[in-house]
């Protein structure tokens, strides 16, 4: 459990902290979850992210942003890194960083794309690929808070091999009351899957989401084209644009 108050806003001064890799979990062939110990971590809300800074021996340093994958557990934070081919930072984080190694991070950052566990209104989560990461933080925070807020998650991936958090999502679909999960495959689906592979369409969003009259808060995260398509479809279906919150990442965001 987070042991400190959860900030809805940034602290006035965001300090760089040294995080140490405590453990990792390989989620798919290209995604790895980093379990990091961050002394002094102030807690966060699901949907927020951190900035990571890497520095090499010559003093060159570079930064990237990564979504927090889970509610804070004391000073332990989780990031799930999708390896970007030819990326400068993600291959290092996903392959090279070893248990005990330090990286610098600061946060939490982000005051818009976030869900507060005290909210009771319906929520629609739509994730494409590694866009599931901040949405998973919301699913986990909901479970941790024993929230009964009605949640629907639509998760679009290319193939079953690309599913991040596959077994946990299966358990959640069974055990987390009031959480409905729909997986949409775009390239190839498991055998006997009820929906043929194909891009997430208006019919899917209408059928597996909430009607606009329920006034859900919609969180959409994924690659630019995916988010653009889903957000536009939601507006077309009658959802109020002010209740649609988006996070997009480009192919080089890595």
């Amino acid at each position: 459990m987070a042991r400190t108050a959860l900030p809805g806003r940034l602290s006035p001064r965001l300090e760089w902290r040294v995080a140490t890799l405590a453990d990792f979990v390989d989620e798919t062939a290209t995604a790895r979850t980093l379990l990091l110990d961050v002394p002094g971590w102030p807690g966060h809300l699901p949907g927020q992210h951190v900035d990571v800074r890497l520095t090499d021996e010559d003093g060159y340093s570079t930064q990237r942003s990564y979504s927090l994958a889970a509610p804070a557990d004391g000073e332990r934070v989780e990031l799930t890194i999708q390896r970007v081919e030819d990326g400068e930072v993600s291959p290092y984080l996903a392959d090279t960083l070893a248990v005990g190694d330090p990286i610098e991070l600061r946060g939490p950052v982000g005051g818009w794309f976030l869900w507060h566990p005290s909210r009771t209104a319906p929520v629609l989560l739509v994730g494409g690929g590694s866009g599931i990461v901040p949405l998973m933080a919301m699913v986990r925070a909901r479970r941790q808070a024993r929230s009964r807020a009605p949640f629907r998650l639509i998760y679009s991936v290319r193939t079953p091999m690309d599913l991040i958090y596959a077994s946990e999502l299966r358990r959640s679909a069974r055990d987390d009351g009031g959480l409905d999960i729909t997986t949409v495959y775009t390239r190839s689906a498991p055998e006997a899957w009820p929906r043929p592979p194909g891009r997430l369409g208006l019919d899917d969003i209408e059928r597996f989401g909430w009607p606009p009259q329920f006034e859900p808060t919609c969180f959409v995260c994924g690659p630019t084209g995916f988010v653009e398509h889903v957000a536009t479809t939601l507006v077309h279906l009658g959802h109020d644009p002010r209740r649609i919150r988006t996070e997009r990442f480009g192919p080089t965001g890595g």
Partner: protein, 198 residues
């Protein structure tokens, strides 16, 4: 200098035109807080309102008739990507502000879709800002802020408000959308003013 991450090696070369912490990208990532608003050109308008309430308005056609400039500039997003030598076409704020009577020091930029961002008025003047409607020779795509966005390349790109619809001139500063949830009030990429307190 930060602590060294064991085994981390740079893959990209330094470019003196890159502010600290930024990396170069060739494509054009999109970052927006919500859905893309689609604004029909016959309903598009751009309004500058002075601190006394006097307003100056341009329709799409009127904007197109104004002399345009084609700035080639580097742009820097707070999410760490930069693009070098991007070429735009649009109308300089100097021109739009020519007739506006004001002694205000601050500007609050309003957009279709409800986004806002604030900046000192002087950061919009003297050849530093445009209302841009073309990118690399094509009309500006909706996801990049089309039909028109503000272009203020010397600040982080969240100040270059997409889907711009007007500017409110004010005597007092008032934080916009990202600024009120913790982003830096000014946003100079060369000083890495990403968040409050930077």
């Amino acid at each position: 200098m930060g602590i060294v991450s064991p085994g981390f090696r740079r893959k990209r070369r330094d470019d003196v035109r890159l502010p600290p912490g930024q990396y170069l990208t060739e494509d054009f990532p999109v970052l927006s807080a919500g859905p893309t608003p689609y604004v029909p050109l016959d309903r598009w308008e751009f309004t500058i309102t002075s601190e006394t309430g006097q307003s100056y308005q341009w329709s799409w056609d009127e904007l197109q008739e104004l002399p345009a400039e084609e700035p080639t500039v580097d742009i820097h997003c707070v999410t760490k990507w930069s693009k070098l030598e991007t070429t735009w076409r649009g109308v300089s704020l100097d021109l739009l502000m020519e007739e506006v009577e004001t002694t205000a020091d601050f500007a609050l930029v309003h957009c279709y879709g409800g986004y806002t961002t604030n900046l000192p008025l002087e950061d919009l003047l003297d050849g530093k800002a445009w209302v841009a409607y073309e990118f690399e020779g094509d009309e500006l795509a909706p996801q990049h802020g089309g039909p028109a966005r503000l272009l203020v390349p010397h600040l982080y790109f969240w100040k270059s408000a997409k889907w711009v619809r007007g500017i409110q001139l004010q005597e007092f500063d008032e934080p916009g959308f990202w600024e009120s949830v913790g982003y830096h009030n000014y946003g100079d990429p060369w000083r890495e003013q990403r968040y409050q307190g930077d």
